[in-house]
């Protein structure tokens, strides 16, 4: 576990300087501003600003839909994270084995990732369109009267599917690069030791893939929490109505769309604290099981 390390009075700081300065200027400074504003009630233009203590937090959490949307956020994140990781791992393992035609396969997969988000969302809602969408028609032939935007479950289904679809290629690339990093000698040795490829995967490949896997787990959780709001926005066509929304989308609705700076900052502070706790937890619990070399 312990890494051999260099000792130098200067190098580490020099190496960290570019990243840290960008992070401080373009992340911590604005973030501090956001945290400050969670304790104030102010008009967006900044003419009037009153310190209100924890009022914003109280106002936001006490709204009738907050708990429901927190619950949905958990379900949404778990599903998106799990399925996009599982599907990508499956695809990557297949691609790693297939030698012939593998490059075409990889390139084609990347096309999905390369679709611009507004178009990806648009393709998504056209596929799920109640009137002319092939997927909606497909479901209807099974007797599932699919109604995007009207039925909560159906809307959630579309949101989750499109989010997974968009994320698979990212995970695929990282898993593949992780797999490619496993030395051939190790795999050959494993092939001799153990005949079943499934067992070989779980006992040899999977543990070696763990560092990448851990990285992807964290990245995917943050993706499903924070970066899916574009997809959600397109699926909802900008009007949430009686459909489920994630907490980040609520932050967007209230702050960006509704101009309630204090309220949305309070919501994001709550979110940030929760995710931070979750992440520390993951580092403590899961990373311990990850063997790096």
């Amino acid at each position: 576990m312990n890494k051999s390390q260099f000792r130098s009075p200067l190098y580490p700081y020099l190496l960290l300087l570019p990243q840290l300065s960008i992070v401080v200027i373009f992340f911590y400074w604005p973030a501090a501003e956001a945290i400050r504003s969670s304790f104030y009630l102010e008009d967006p233009f900044g003419f009037s600003s009153t310190f209100v203590g924890f009022d914003n937090f109280e106002d936001m959490v006490s709204r009738s839909d907050y708990v429901a949307s927190a619950r949905f956020t958990i379900i949404f994140s778990v599903l998106v994270t799990f399925f996009s990781l599982a599907a990508a791992l499956l695809l990557a393992v297949t691609a790693d084995r297939v030698i012939k035609g593998a490059s075409t396969y990889k390139t084609l997969l990347m096309w999905v990732y390369a679709i611009a988000p507004p178009v990806a969302g648009l393709i998504g809602i056209m596929l799920f369109d109640n009137l002319v969408g092939p997927i909606a028609e497909f479901f209807r032939s099974f007797g599932w009267d699919f109604k995007l935007g009207v039925n909560r479950f159906d809307t959630a289904f579309a949101m989750i599917t499109v989010s997974i679809w968009k994320q698979i290629p990212v995970n695929f690339i990282f898993f593949l690069s992780g797999l490619q990093g496993i030395p051939k000698s190790v795999q050959e040795a494993a092939a001799i030791d153990c005949a079943s490829s499934t067992r070989r995967f779980w006992t040899i490949t999977f543990p070696l893939l763990a560092p990448t896997g851990f990285f992807l787990l964290i990245i995917n959780i943050t993706y499903s929490l924070f970066d899916t709001f574009g997809v959600i926005d397109v699926v909802l066509k900008g009007e949430p109505g009686n459909n489920p929304v994630t907490l980040v989308y609520k932050v967007f609705l209230d702050g960006f769309r509704g101009g309630d700076l204090g309220g949305s900052s309070a919501q994001s502070v709550i979110l940030m604290v929760l995710v931070l706790i979750l992440t520390v937890f993951q580092f403590r619990l899961i990373e311990r099981r990850v063997h790096y070399n």
């Binding site: 008009d43 233009f45 003419f47 009037s48 935007g149 009207v150 909802l236 066509k237 949430p240 960006f256």
Partner: protein, 437 residues
Amino acid sequence: MSIRNYIVGAMATAMSVTTALPALAQTEITWWHAMGGQLGETVNEIAEKFNASQSDYKITPVFKGTYEETMTAGIAAFRGGEQPNVIQVFDAGAATLIGAKGAVIPAQTLMKDNGVPFDINDYISGVRYFYADTDGTMIGMPFNSSTPIMYYNEDALKKAGVTPPKTWEEFQSVTAPKLKAAGYVPLSQSHLPWIFTENFYSRHNLEFATMDNGYESGTPVMLLNQDPIKGHFAAVKEWLDNDLFAWYGTGWTDNQKPFNEGQVAMWLGSSGSFGGVKSAAKFPFNATYLPYWESLTKDPTQTFIGGAALFAMAGHSEDENKAVAEFFRFLTSPEVQYFWHKETGYVPITTAAYDLAKKDGYYKETPQAEVGIKQLSLPGGDWTKGYRLGFYVQIRDVMNREYGKIFAGEKTVDEAFETIEIESNKLLERFARSMGN
């Protein structure tokens, strides 16, 4: 922060002095808007026409995304001292901009101070006071204005042997059952808060919120948990259950499309939707006024406008403000208004422009395009000039959510309106506090 702003400001001034020195002293102004697609091209054309019409001023329009993105960009820019001269802000966001005292210069004041004649009575009555303050001073210049009207498929109505209903009573007892029997979905609509709530209030001349529908400063209270609107939604829910009405979700086009496709016989949409319906519908269609409940009123009144207005942002030099005033003069001229009206389907905002359109014979070929203006020119009442409510975007979200619950059968009408009342008043209170009231 302030020192930095000062230095940047000083540098900017120094630079503008040097650039302003050359003989051709053209004042440049910017206009941020949210008009995509064809509308955006029409906006560009108007700007080009203005620039070509004189040589003292030059306006540059910039597309800044959706209404919300445009507004957020404007807010960010204002805080950084980089705000545009003119910004387009949508109806539900207007209170935020107007409430922040010092963010905008009232259009009326700006024009008067710069020698551009202004008479509020030149404007169509339904448009006049929507973006005005308590005293009736126009703050935002109505730009893309439209109002909800009822489109109908003429073939469908002929087949069912009915005429477009004037009242909801007629709709539910005669029109809808016959249309249903003829194989059509009788009705859909595209914006529950705008059409079935706000304009329900104005069509029946009902008080929407205290403090003069929110125009007076203070903390207004929404008058939503009331029998008339509850009765309306109880009826709508019944229509929905009996297939006399269909609801396809909160997306605007989701509800418009089935009409375009000929499945829905009548659709409540915007007068500005005319162009879209025209290019998509393969059947003869026409439009008429929004129906009303005879049980509530014998004299239905005019409706509210929706859409967006142009606001002159504060913090610019006198020269630039003068340029904005001149631009507003140009924009409100009958020819430009008629051009905008014809190209986009939005209503012309002045009577002179309306007259020009009539004189030109525009409505002879397209009578549908006149319905909105005629409805906005109907007699008004105490509560028909508009509303001014803070955090209104969120209030509309609450309405949409609760109406969805009514339609899904998750809540009764009473329960839903109780929630709407509580949450919207809480939002109004928050807004008043955030504005320092």
